[in-house]
């Protein structure tokens, strides 16, 4: 066996990894071969040099760092975490789109701007067209408002058409029950007390009209704003809320450029709906008068006659053929003191929606 073979075995010999025979052969050879012996010595030296390399210590926080990562992994393994995160992202995206669509931007914008507008002291700019006598004093108007409108929502109507105010007070489509109505009135009283102070009114009423005015809000069942106003809760379940709102907008000063889009929408909606005529009838006996009015309406062939009772007032509504409107008005005048009939515009449409508020004569 020559030195080259032995050299190959020396490494393993050093490690004690040779078979018994190989080991014997190497040892036999080493006895006689000085070169191989020195090779073995050099090999031993080299190995000890490598072995002599100092061990490094792990940084003190390494174990904690590792465990932190592992605990995260154990709680939500990556194969669960990634799909979860993806699902969450998708859910957020869809929710955002949904929210964006339900609160239309125009409505949102309007919602922000309205309070300011109502806060502005543009107060008695327009005389009431229906209820109003010529040049009513503010107190008088206030009093009318008190009787007509139980909701805080009416406050904004001061600057607008009195008819709206009336209408707003009346859950004309008749699903509102009496108890909520009573509640409304309490609310209204409270609001009015605040209103009585000259300039203060803007603030307390600021929120209510805003909500009442925004059709998108009414339509969106989840809108949180609704819950804030009992009036809204008691209002008839949006049969045609857009139409109500539209009238308000129609009469409103043209200052609302910002909500032009929303306005257009509303104007369109009113064009589609029937014309509305709102009247107030002051009588001694409301119950008896209500029956009389119902008879009158029946005789005129009115459809969908509804009567809503409140604490000291009734509101009746019906759809009427336009041609009978003037005759009905004449008959109503015989029942009691009728207001609001002075300024009824020419009827363009075949049918008209008539709303009659019955009030106790003072």
């Amino acid at each position: 066996m020559d030195c080259r073979d032995i050299k190959e075995l020396l490494s393993a010999y050093l490690d004690g990894a040779l078979s018994f025979e190989e080991k014997a052969r190497v040892e036999e050879h080493l006895k006689t071969c000085k070169e191989c012996s020195s090779n073995l010595a050099a090999l031993k030296e080299a190995v000890s040099q490598i072995k002599g390399l100092k061990e490094v210590e792990p940084p003190p926080l390494l174990a904690r760092r590792i465990m932190k990562t592992i605990k995260k992994e154990a709680r939500y393994p990556l194969r669960i975490r990634i799909p979860l995160q993806a699902a969450a992202m998708i859910a957020i995206a869809f929710t955002s789109i949904y929210l964006y669509k339900s609160f239309q931007p125009a409505a949102m914008k309007e919602a922000k701007e309205l309070p300011k507008e109502y806060a502005a002291p543009q107060a008695p700019s327009q005389p009431p067209t229906v209820v109003g006598k010529a040049g009513p004093t503010p107190e008088k108007e206030e009093a009318v408002a008190l009787r007509n409108a139980p909701a805080p929502a009416k406050q904004e109507a001061k600057t607008e058409d009195k008819r709206i105010l009336f209408f707003r007070a009346a859950p004309a489509r008749g699903k509102a029950a009496a108890p909520p109505a009573a509640k409304e009135e309490r609310m209204a009283d409270a609001a009015l007390k605040k209103e009585a102070r000259p300039m203060a009114p803007a603030q307390p009423s600021a929120n209510a009209p805003l909500i009442a005015e925004t059709p998108a809000m009414q339509a969106a069942p989840a809108a949180p704003a609704q819950a804030e106003t009992p009036v809204m809760a008691a209002a008839p379940p949006a049969a045609a809320p857009a139409a109500e709102v539209a009238l308000v907008e129609e009469k409103a000063p043209p200052a609302k450029k910002a909500s032009a889009g929303a306005m257009r929408m509303k104007v369109e909606s009113i064009e589609k709906g029937p014309m509305e005529v709102r009247l107030t009838l002051y009588v001694k006996d409301i119950d008896a008068a209500a029956k009389n009015v119902e008879d009158v309406l029946n005789q005129a062939g009115a459809a969908e006659i509804k009567t809503d009772s409140f604490k000291d007032r009734k509101i009746q509504s019906a759809f009427l053929s336009s041609q009978y409107l003037s005759r009905v008005i004449e008959k109503l005048k015989s029942i009691g003191e009728l207001k609001g009939a002075e300024a009824i515009p020419a009827q363009e449409k075949p049918s008209v929606r008539i709303i009659i508020g019955l009030e106790k004569k003072s």
Binding site: A12, K44, V47, P59, L62, M67
Partner: protein
Amino acid sequence: MIVEQRPVPDEDAGLVSLCKGGATGPFETLVKRHQKKMLNIVYRMIGDYEEACDVVQEAFVSAFKGINGFEGKSRFSTWLYSIAINQARNRLKQMKARRQFEARSIDNPVPGRDRLIRLEPASGDPPAAETIERKEIQSKVQECINTLEHGYREILVLRDMQGFSYDEIGSMLGLPEGTVRSRLFRAREAFMKKMKSHLGDL
């Protein structure tokens, strides 16, 4: 030099079976038990302390994830270290690619910067008895190891530094014992050659 005979039963077996249910507590014990050895293997393989710490962390995490796949055919430590060795190999490739990229960078030229030659960054104060000469030899040794090809470097670290048996090295590197023996022989030859050219008189 005689191969140390380790006890055949795996001291980690109990903890490992607890970890298979997903428990992290017993795994922490395993981390504490093996982190130093793993760090030293990886550090000597890739020569960069920070990178080595990273690799060790990665290796422990993937060991935890894959612990259910550990069948107990080898010792747990052998299995664990083989994961670390694989991760270190990958890291070496990444570092090599990064170095090439950095070398070409005009914005950030770092002349003479070779991460592989940086030595002992974590060793605290050297023992008072340690002479400068000894320190120099150590740095020469590391330099020589670093210039060896990866296969040789690995096997020298595992055998001569860490003292693993041929059998263990074989299962860590996935090599038959005969290959371990011949590769170790060639690695030592190559190392001696390098040392000779570095120190002159070895």
